[in-house]
Amino acid sequence: GAGVSQSPSNKVTEKGKDVELRCDPISGHTALYWYRQSLGQGLEFLIYFQGNSAPDKSGLPSDRFSAERTGGSVSTLTIQRTQQEDSAVYLCASSQEGATYNEQFFGPGTRLTVL
């Protein structure tokens, strides 16, 4: 079946603008994660949605970052008043929590460049 998809694949924006990044998880997956990865660096956890529970927002770096997940499916990560240090690849992953193998399936990422 279809994997995790993300759009856009690339986004170039000017400092101060708002951006929205979209993630379509695998159908039926209850958990959805957002990560940020700077060039050559590890995965920085941003936010975690699990079913109807309150999201774990502990990784969001500032109040300029927010995310929502509508209907337990599609998620949007919004970055307001973008800064140059926001430039990175934003990865989304989904998993079926509670299953024996609850591995995360990653999307291809959105490469964000803030000029």
Binding site: G42, F45, Q104
Partner: protein
């Protein structure tokens, strides 16, 4: 929050040689997963270990979970150029969310 530490952070490995990468937690894990990210790609799941002392093999890759479920290792034999990439471990404590280590970036020298 709880985290897993990976060592080393970087490795240069001669083609044909073996190498090991390690993942450590200060507290007992429920399970641990390993992922590989090729250059320019996204992380891809390799394996999950759940049981104390568990050992699993995938061709040239051997994964181990420590007896105390606080550490894990990935050992690759006869390294090939296709082994280049970053290897991440990700740990879970209880029913908490999965937490990734910072990764071990592997460069293969032909």
């Amino acid at each position: 929050g709880q985290q897993v530490m990976q060592i080393p952070q970087y490795q240069h490995v001669q083609e044909g040689e073996d190498f090991t990468t390690y993942c450590n937690s200060s507290t007992t894990l429920s399970n641990i997963q390993w992922y590989k990210q090729r250059p320019g790609g996204h992380p891809v799941f390799l394996i999950q270990l759940v049981k104390s002392g568990e050992v699993k093999k995938q061709k040239r890759l051997t994964f181990q979970f420590g007896e105390a479920k606080k550490n894990s290792s990935l050992h690759i034999t006869a390294t090939q150029t296709t082994d280049v990439g970053t290897y991440f471990c990700a740990g879970r404590w209880g029913n908490n969310r999965l937490a990734f280590g910072k990764g071990n970036q592997v460069v293969v020298i032909p």
